[in-house]
């Protein structure tokens, strides 16, 4: 791959995916990202981390952002740049995430109280642990946007 344009600017190569909001389809995004990361030369351990992070982000978009509405799409942009891969996961925002509620550390103790069924809530924490940069914002179109960056270590 040539990594610079004739003007010396970094070349961006973008793969765009549009998925229905149905659990299971996060695997399509995981495998597409894995394939691109392998092509870029990422270490296998980093590829596994990337797959886990994307799987969590797309699952969140399906479950929370689009509320399992299969007519709503999850858009995944994979942008390959020199030395890094940028991943944007955007939903249609049927439910906008309360950014103040996205804790940096999951509150573990209540989840192990007797009778507590929901073991979820680890996704964002896991994404932050696995990726080099993470931003969670509201997209221009009104949906939730998770932007993740993973650096290619030489």
């Amino acid at each position: 791959m040539n990594d610079k344009t004739l003007k010396g600017e970094p070349v961006e190569r973008v793969v765009e995916l549009s998925l229905p909001s149905k659990l299971g389809y996060e695997r399509v995004a995981m495998d597409a990202a894995s394939s691109l990361a392998n092509r870029m030369g990422f270490h296998p351990d980093r590829v596994e981390a990337l797959k886990t992070a994307i799987g969590e982000a797309v699952t969140n978009a399906i479950e929370h952002g689009n509320q399992h509405d299969e007519a709503m799409k999850v858009i995944v942009l994979l942008t390959a740049r020199e030395g890094e891969l940028i991943v944007n996961v955007e939903d249609e925002g049927k439910k906008i995430l309360d950014h103040s509620m996205i804790a940096r550390e999951p509150d573990i103790a209540p989840k192990y109280q007797p009778g507590h069924v929901d073991r979820g809530g680890w996704g964002i924490w896991l994404i932050r642990e696995l990726m080099d940069e993470v931003q969670i914002t509201t997209a221009p179109g009104g949906g939730n946007l998770v932007r993740m960056v993973i650096h290619l270590e030489k």
């Binding site: 791959m1 190569r13 973008v14 793969v15 765009e16 995916l17 549009s18 998925l19 229905p20 149905k22 659990l23 299971g24 389809y25 996060e26 695997r27 399509v28 995004a29 995981m30 495998d31 597409a32 894995s34 394939s35 691109l36 092509r39 799987g55 699952t59």
Partner: protein, 143 residues
């Protein structure tokens, strides 16, 4: 499912792996998925090489639909050049006998591996539609 990528050789592998994951998700047999992967890769390479003439600024679009008993995959390019097969393709034996170039087997391979393969009219570019019969019930396994 829809996917698009730049017209650069190698990106057909990304499309192949995404469509294979989609096919697994809807419950297609793993041997049939290998056929789909090979046929799709050939179709994408044709779009990159012939339709978009290796121009990385142009895109290849892949659409994948499952309707219960069929998987339909469309591969579209932005049509720098209308793609034509150029008559009846030579057989492998004819090619090995030196009667033609060793390349140019893509369409024959696609036709052998799919249940339907045809160019369909679109306003711009080339659109190649592949159809695969699906015998298994649709099952989507959450990761």
């Amino acid at each position: 499912m829809e996917l698009s990528f730049p017209s650069e050789l190698g990106y057909e592998v990304v499309a192949r792996d995404a469509v294979a994951a989609f096919a697994r998700c809807v419950g297609i047999d793993k041997n049939r998925i290998e056929d789909i992967k090979t046929a799709l890769s050939e179709a994408c390479i044709n779009a990159i090489e012939h339709g978009n003439q290796f121009d990385a600024n142009l895109r290849v679009m892949v659409t994948c639909k499952h309707n219960g008993d069929h998987l339909t995959v469309e591969v579209r390019d932005q049509g720098m050049k209308e793609y034509t097969a150029g008559g009846k393709p030579l057989t492998i034996e004819e090619k090995l006998a030196g009667l033609g170039p060793l390349r140019g087997m893509g369409l024959m391979l696609i036709t052998e591996l799919s249940d339907g393969a045809e160019f369909v009219p679109v306003s711009q570019g080339n659109c190649f539609r592949l159809t695969f019969s699906v015998l298994q019930p649709a099952i989507c396994h959450h990761s």
